[in-house]
């Protein structure tokens, strides 16, 4: 070969190697694009939401004035229940800020305290007549605007008109902070209360319970049915058109958009069968239909993994096919089936679109007590809060997302543990 063509080949080779390197780099880059997005997603949610785990409380010296409460001699149970506890808080605020005199200013002043604060005053008094006339120092729930100011979510440099919190409020808040009369505490309200129109009184407990009931219904229905279907298809089904039809259907249902299941639920369960709207029962039914393909597919894989020698040994000992499967194959396949079921449940827990169709978006302020009570679920609660403009709801939405992700991580970790602990390689 001449020197000239050698150098040509070498130059070409260098270009080919460069191309090789570039290609490899693009591959690595796209893996890292995925990683980077994951990191951005999690940081953005955690940085937006971690403040929601704390809530501001205001210290007030509340005098249990019977006149303000409207309680006279021998108050009855309902007198106590409907007494004017709000009045006590207002009086305490006026006392704390004696310089506030005009009506409109007073009205602004009352906004510092949450409208839910009266319940803690009521609880502190606890229908106890002897406390009337005494003064107690109470920590009551602050309004979400005050909370946002203290957490630095409100930009003080903005002109007053563009700000949610007025200058006057800032003055009062600063004076409270100076005297140590506000305090941030762990936000128990968030974990014990249900949905509310006021951010500081809103919590995820109702949604968690709704999710729990919905998932229980889903689990109770989808696990036995899914396992039964998988056993039939894997162990008994003859090769015929009916079996083919079933398989095609299962594969298709696994890819049908979830919202279509919601339409089915609306048309069949609500309008045709007349089941109650917004109930975990119906939500569970819809999610069952949705997760069944996942469970069937993974259960079949688990059954397939059990070696035929087990079946042959059992059949050789005189067991019937049914006994072989239920006594020997199924127990061995169970860990794999459970893993698949948990993953299916995790999917169901994160699902919201079909539940919107069956009315689980209703504003539910009460914690559901059973599977026929109106309820909402965690993802739908997130969807609802995401629409609300208050800064307090933005952080609570992110915090609710963190709660949801924590449940999902726990479920998946449990599935991984099950697989690692019980899976047998043959």
């Amino acid at each position: 070969m001449t020197k000239q063509s050698m150098s040509k080949v070498e130059a070409h080779l260098a270009r080919r190697y460069a191309r090789e390197k570039r290609f490899r780099f693009y591959g690595l880059l796209s893996v890292f694009v995925g990683f980077a997005f994951l990191v951005v997603l999690f940081t953005s949610i955690i940085s937006k939401g971690y403040t929601a785990f704390q809530q501001t409380y205001i210290q007030l010296d509340v005098t249990y004035d019977a006149d303000i409460l409207g309680l006279y001699d021998n108050p009855t149970e309902s007198d106590w229940l409907y007494a004017n506890y709000d009045g006590l808080i207002k009086a305490a605020l006026r006392e704390r800020f004696p310089e506030v005199t005009s009506r409109s200013e007073k009205r602004e002043l009352y906004k510092l305290v949450s409208s839910g604060a009266k319940f803690s005053v009521r609880d502190s008094l606890d229908n106890n007549e002897e406390l009337l006339g005494t003064t107690a120092t109470l920590w009551v729930l602050a309004d979400d605007d005050l909370d946002s100011v203290l957490k630095g979510h409100i930009d003080r440099t903005l002109p007053e008109a563009d700000r949610r919190v007025k200058d006057q409020h800032l003055v009062w808040i600063d004076s409270l902070v100076e005297n140590g009369e506000v305090e941030k505490r762990f936000n128990t309200v968030f974990f014990t209360h249900s949905a509310s129109a006021e951010p500081e009184q809103a919590g995820v407990w109702g949604a968690i319970k709704g999710s729990f009931f919905t998932l229980i219904v889903t689990l109770v229905l989808s696990f036995p049915v899914g396992v039964a279907a998988a056993v039939y298809l894997e162990e008994f089904a003859p090769q015929n058109r009916w079996t083919d039809l079933i398989e095609v259907n299962i594969n298709n249902l696994a890819a049908v958009p979830s919202i279509v299941f919601g339409l089915l639920g609306l048309a069949v369960f609500l309008n045709f069968m007349g089941l109650p709207r917004s109930a975990p029962l119906v939500g569970g039914l819809v999610l069952t239909l949705m997760t069944l393909p996942t469970i069937i597919i993974s259960s079949r894989a688990a059954l397939k993994a059990v070696p035929p020698s087990i079946r042959e040994a059992a059949l050789g000992m005189g067991a019937s096919r049914m006994q072989t499967i239920f006594h020997h194959v199924l127990p061995l396949a169970m860990p794999g089936m459970l893993t698949g079921t948990i993953i299916g449940m995790a999917q169901a827990l994160g699902e919201s679109a079909p539940l919107l169709m069956i009315g689980m978006v209703a504003f539910v302020a009460e914690v559901p007590q059973g599977i026929t009570d109106p309820a909402t679920v965690l993802p739908v609660q997130i969807f609802q809060w995401a629409d609300l403009p208050e800064r307090g709801f933005v952080e609570r939405t992110s915090a609710a997302i963190m709660v949801l992700l924590a449940f999902l991580i726990a479920m998946n970790a449990f599935a991984v543990y099950l697989r690692k602990r019980f899976e047998r390689r043959w």
Binding site: V31, G34, V260, L263
Partner: protein, 461 residues
Amino acid sequence: MQASTLFVTIVILSVFGYYFGYKRAHDVAKPVGGVKSLHSLPSYYGSWTALWCAIPALLVLAVWTMFQGAIIDGLLMQNLPAEFAHMGADERSMVVNNVKTLAEGGMVISPSEGVKAAAEDYKRYSSISALAMAALALSAGLAFLAVAWRRIRPELRARNRVEKIILFLLVSCASLAILTTVGIVFSVLFESVQFFNRVSIFEFMFGTHWSPQIAIRADQVGASGAFGAVPLFVGTMLISVIALLVAVPTGLMSAIYLSEYADKRFRSMAKPTLEILAGVPTVVYGFFAALTVGPFLRDMGVVFGLDVSAQSALAAGLVMGVMIIPFVSSLSDDVISAVPQSLRDGSYGLGATRSETIKQVVLPAALPGIVGGVLLAASRAIGETMIVVMAAGLTARLTANPLEDVTTVTAQIVTLLVGDQEFDSPKTLAAFALGLMLFVTTLILNVVALRVVRKYREQYD
């Protein structure tokens, strides 16, 4: 008696059935030489009796609960007091609703005497129905239990019979998949046909103006051009295309890197990490797209002097694309790993570099599988709901500009069906027509994709 208590009672009854059957098997075996002269184990005789008790009783329970609502409503409608006789069907059903609320202890604003009387009727019907259901279910259970119990003999093939019943149960569980599909088809088709009776199908498929809100006013007819779904189809396509433009190159390239280049340790760490993206609930992506990506893109637009809507198609598409990256990558990973090593070795033997082998041998061999995967990803993108509901707009705009806000089929279904609704308005029915379109489109995509993937797999087996 409530359905749930009745259910528990039936279960308890069948447990007793098991015990009686088991006992009886022992008893009938005693004179002829003990348990070993029975055809099956005693527990099978017990199970057989229990099943014969439970199945008829549960059937009665299921059928009764399914139809009692409709029958009671019918009775109530017929026996409504004379003051409601002149009303139309709609008003009468309103009255019936009031009656029910009153009967269940709810609040009804100033109920008339007739409504109160009807509420009493309703209470009576309900209690009669519940009582009759309990009586019928329990007596059916008991009767069949007794018959089964009497028929127990040593030569009864109890095991075979029990196994037959179990097999039947297994078949019915498996057939539920077919029932679900049939249910979906019928529920969307039935409502869609009603919709197309009011709005012509051509108007819906080819009309370019979508504003269903107008059509609920009484003085307007549904077919006034408000139900042209073309802007929705275009919006769906636009967002899906953006999503696929993000997901397909990234997913494919990461699958190639992970299966061809990465060492075992990196692979075992990277794969599950990418899978997390698929496990994050869509509502979280929606929140992220609406509150972080959307405003970010708008600010970027300001920097570059572009007018970007806060709810741009781009934001929804980008985030949706990221969501389906693991979907594309795991499907392509499967098909790339399925390409036989001999093909690669042949290519290396001819002096090709790795990337040349991948581009010229592996990818062409894996192409049908990758195409199938992309089709499945497209069907995912089209059916995705929460991201578009939260991050894309609601304005039906006929545009191909990704910086403007568009709306999609799924987003419109949600807006039309969430909240209070009367069931017969074209507005609600339109959602089902959209659902039908969605179902048919994704069904075609899925069937084609599954066929392509399956056909390809057979090639190298």
